[in-house]
């Protein structure tokens, strides 16, 4: 890819001898928004953690994640610490556990500025106030001294976003940033995220299981299942003409809001998502796929022109 903030090649994540991410290759185009869709067991969160160098004890990553000329997966911790919070930022799902409960919010937002930009406490605090205003937290100056538990869920998430964009990162990874929020707040926070990313010219990787969110916010989408990328392309393309049976199944499973269903039943994908180590060999989706046959015992390659799919029997 021509101008990519991040190029990932054959990324694997191994947990206790089993591959949770099986060797995926993708690139994040600079300044654009890419959505990573997957359910439990897809490997989407581990992918993000591997890129950021935040995998927990006992998990190993393989492959290469090129950020510019550096491979994030083989950098020493010291260099990763320099990059994290400054060039690479992450927003997590659960703001209550992602924020330090005994530190005022203002200090937490100011922290990256002090660590990476060397700002004095006073300057960092002023900048933190400005950041809180940008994320539309009312009474930003007063809120600096508030503790996380004194803010609402939506405000905590905004604070976390403020912390993430404090140093104008090149890459912002958001892992299910709105899943834990109320529905009315979700829409606002997502809109905010999109706007800020554009203002900063940052590259966004949005990880979620919620397809409509990706449709609204992202230009490109990657669909993961069982540790593989099964479909990839521009959002309009993938959602307009989904090719992988899993993508089709996911889209069908969304209850339509404006029409009734034939025979009153929701469309579901048969079976359940297997646990780690229980995915079938070959294509991980074949035990649930209505189009599977013997050929699917071999994992199909991710192939195509612009709109890629990993399937022996994709939809046209």
């Amino acid at each position: 890819m021509k101008d990519a903030t991040l190029e990932v090649r054959h990324l694997t994540v191994t947990v206790g001898g089993m591959r949770a991410v099986r060797g995926i290759t993708f690139a994040l185009p600079r300044g654009r928004r890419t959505g990573l869709i997957g359910e439990s067991g897809s490997g989407k969160t581990l992918t993000a953690l591997a890129i950021m160098g935040l995998l927990p004890e006992g998990l190993t990553a393989g492959g290469v994640a090129m950020y510019g000329a550096e491979d994030l997966l083989s950098l020493p911790d010291s260099r990763l610490c320099e990059l994290r919070g400054d060039r690479l930022a992450m927003v997590f799902q659960e703001p209550m556990t992602a924020l330090n409960p005994v530190m005022p919010v203002g200090a937490q937002v100011a922290e990256p500025l002090r660590v990476h930009r060397g700002l004095s406490r006073r300057d960092a605090t002023l900048e933190a106030a400005r950041l809180l205003e940008r994320v539309q937290i009312p009474n930003a100056a007063e809120r600096l001294r508030a503790y996380p538990h004194q803010l609402s869920g939506g405000q905590r998430q905004r604070a976390m976003i403020a912390m993430a964009i404090a140093c104008s990162p090149d890459l912002l990874i958001a892992d299910e940033p709105t899943t834990a929020l109320d529905v009315t707040v979700q829409a606002q926070v997502l809109a905010l995220l999109g706007r800020l990313v554009d203002e900063e010219g940052a590259t966004l990787l949005l990880i979620t299981h919620d397809l409509p969110v990706v449709d609204q916010l992202c230009d490109r989408v990657l669909v993961m299942y069982g540790g593989w990328i099964v479909e990839e392309g521009e959002t309009d393309e993938v959602f307009g003409r989904p090719r992988h049976p899993y993508t089709v199944g996911l889209m069908d499973a969304i209850p339509p809001l404006d029409e009734d269903l034939p025979d009153g039943r929701l469309r579901a994908i048969a079976g359940s998502v297997p646990g780690l180590g229980e995915f079938p060999s070959g294509c991980p989706f074949r035990t649930r796929c209505p189009r599977a046959d013997d050929a699917c015992a071999v994992m199909p390659p991710l192939a195509g022109d612009g709109h890629l799919v990993a399937c022996w029997h994709p939809f046209a």
């Binding site: 359910e39 439990s40 869920g153 109320d182 529905v183 009315t184 979700q186 829409a187 997502l190 299981h209 919620d210 397809l211 409509p212 969110v213 449709d215 609204q216 959002t235 309009d236 959602f239 307009g240 003409r241 989904p242 049976p245 089709v248 199944g249 996911l250 889209m251 069908d252 499973a253 969304i254 209850p255 339509p256 809001l257 404006d258 009734d260 269903l261 009153g264 039943r265 929701l266 469309r267 579901a268 994908i269 359940s272 998502v273 297997p274 646990g275 209505p290 939809f315």
Partner: protein, 256 residues
């Protein structure tokens, strides 16, 4: 018209919060404020609200696990403990990890001392929720989230209830599994002649599974009506806000 299964009138429930200041009286949180509605026999009622709307408190009061501060909850039926059952949101904490599935599912029958052929009942219940009777010998951790939810539903059906309350039954499940569980609830409602109450924070969940919808906010009922009307012409601005904030797929691909 037959009498309603549940009659809720001016229901109010307050909680006293722990003291934050030594010399000031503790603050109270009003979880429910003057809530009134009927639950009609055989219907499927959706209760939609965000966090803090009071919907979980409402369920606890309907189950008589707590007493209201004002107002009444009246169950028109026989034994509440037997006839009204609940399915919870979290499939992990809903099942005792130390018990085998068979014992979990039959627990209400044992506690209520209901007569019957237990193995036969177990087999029937497990089949009804799409699991094999042999699964009864295993432990909850051996099952996926969706399967655990099925086990929880089987347990709720064991005492042959008339009313099934479902508290966010699919929120904690994978998207591809949600539709299965919702379909299951609909099938069971028909098969077991149940009255269903489905609590959700997401309107799209109730769109195809409920006859009527009750919209709650901050402990109060802001709108109630049949599902089609609520979705096509919502009257209260909050309901409209809820509907508008549901992210929709702009581009909808061909249905397979």
């Amino acid at each position: 018209m037959s009498e309603p299964v549940f009659e809720v009138r001016d229901l109010t429930r307050r909680y006293r919060l722990p003291r934050t200041a030594l010399l000031q009286p503790p603050r109270t949180l009003t979880a429910l404020r003057g809530v009134s509605f009927d639950l009609r026999r055989g219907e499927s009622l959706g209760i939609v609200g965000e966090s803090g709307s009071g919907k979980s408190t409402l369920l606890r009061l309907m189950l008589s696990l707590e007493r209201p501060d004002e107002g009444t909850v009246t169950y028109h039926g026989g034994s509440l403990r037997r006839e009204v059952q609940i399915v919870f949101q979290d499939p992990v904490s809903a099942l005792d990890p130390r018990m085998r599935v068979a014992d979990l599912v039959l627990e209400p029958v044992r506690v209520l001392r209901l007569p019957g052929d237990h193995p036969a009942m177990l087999a029937e219940l497990m089949h009804a929720v799409g699991l094999s009777a042999a699964a009864g010998r295993r432990f909850p951790h051996e099952f996926s989230g969706g399967q655990r939810q099925r086990i929880a539903i089987a347990r709720a059906l064991a005492p042959r209830p008339r009313v099934l309350l479902a508290d966010e039954p699919v929120s904690a499940l994978d998207v591809s599994v949600r539709a299965q569980i919702l379909n299951l609830l609909l099938d069971l409602r028909a098969g077991y002649d149940l009255t269903l109450v489905l609590v959700a924070h997401d309107l799209s969940v109730v769109r195809h599974t409920c006859d009527r919808v009750l919209v709650m906010r901050a402990g109060e009922v802001v709108e109630v009506g049949d599902t089609r009307t609520i979705f096509r012409s919502p009257r209260h601005p909050y309901t409209r806000a809820l509907l508008e904030s549901i992210p929709r797929l702009r581009t909808r691909g061909p249905v397979a």
